[in-house]
């Protein structure tokens, strides 16, 4: 029986962001943009969607005088990611 894939995670950029954040304590916007290769605009939109679903926490602060947006995965996001990976496995097994 195939499990349904979470549509919020089954998208290239959102999955890339979640995969980066699952292995980190936290990462800032510039890091996520560089590693995912996304444009700033697209990344902002996708981060917003993940934050609305409470998969990630977004903290808009400052590093010195420069604005710095920091993201970290939430327990709900981690659980959703695990379910997503399990569902993928059910397809490949």
């Amino acid at each position: 029986m195939f499990k349904e894939l979470d549509p919020l995670l089954h998208s290239q950029l959102r999955l890339a962001v979640m995969s980066l954040l699952i292995s980190l304590e936290e990462a800032d916007f510039v890091y996520l943009r560089e590693k995912s290769g996304a444009t700033a605009g697209n990344l902002s939109v996708q981060l917003e969607k993940l934050a609305q679903a409470q998969y990630i926490e977004v903290d808009k602060g400052y590093s010195g005088k420069r604005p710095r947006t920091t993201c970290r995965i939430t327990p709900a996001g981690r659980a959703a990611f695990e379910v997503y990976v399990d569902a993928l496995r059910s397809y490949t097994e």
């Binding site: 999955l15 980066l20 292995s23 800032d28 510039v30 995912s36």
Partner: protein, 213 residues
């Protein structure tokens, strides 16, 4: 990255690629914090030794408090100014290990004002800090730090055998073994790793023929 429909295999490949990306996070100058504390420790210890030797005034030992008073603000400044964009779990674990050790070291030092004969402070401090170095080394899988930590743990016991102010000389030597040498090796490894696009601990392990613990 363009949005497109992902196949199941593409999803798995993307997850693996992104997780791998997070491994190349060792930054240049990763050993600078070790060097800060190592050199500060060496200078303070030798100054106290010199003052005790030439003046005999025990109040020279109050200079130990120069370490946190100078070290923490400088460390805060160094951490604030580095261009860190992501924090790995390993870095978070190491930082928490040192917060706990820092709190214990501070409480042990303050208790000396209550009863300065309560415990052999040099031995306890050396054991505590060496344990921190060994734990950090094991967490980052960096052989020079693991060796320095465990050699330091072993040598800490020599402080129970050495009398008088000579203990301070041994204590000063710990800063070289535990912090200054590993700090320089870590910086050299991170320079080499960044040049080669590898993780520094990986690079060091390869050059030292060390397998990961």
């Amino acid at each position: 990255m363009e949005e497109k429909n992902l196949s199941k295999n593409e999803s798995l490949e993307l997850i693996a690629r992104m997780i791998k990306e997070t491994r190349n996070s060792m930054e240049r100058g990763g050993g600078n914090i070790y060097l800060l504390w190592g050199y500060l420790w060496l200078v303070v210890a030798l100054t106290i030794y010199g003052l005790l030797l030439y003046t005999g005034d025990y109040r020279a030992t109050w200079l130990w408090f120069a370490m946190p008073l100078v070290g923490y603000p400088v460390m805060y400044f160094m951490l604030k100014n580095r261009k860190r964009r992501a924090t790995t779990f390993v870095e978070a674990v190491i930082s928490k290990i040192w917060i706990v050790i820092g709190v214990c070291a501070l409480l042990l030092s303050l208790f000396m004002f209550v009863n300065h004969n309560a415990f052999p402070i040099m031995f306890i401090m050396a054991l505590l800090i060496n344990a921190g170095v060994a734990m950090s080394g094991l967490v980052i899988k960096f052989k020079p730090t693991i060796i320095a930590g465990f050699v330091g743990i072993l040598l800490s016991f020599s402080l129970l055998l050495i009398p008088g102010i000579n203990q301070i000389l041994v204590f000063a030597a710990f800063s070289v073994i535990m912090l200054i040498i590993p700090g320089h090796i870590l910086n050299a490894a991170s320079r080499k790793a960044i040049a080669a696009g590898l993780d520094a601990t990986e690079s060091s392990s390869k050059s030292n023929k060390v397998s990961n613990v």
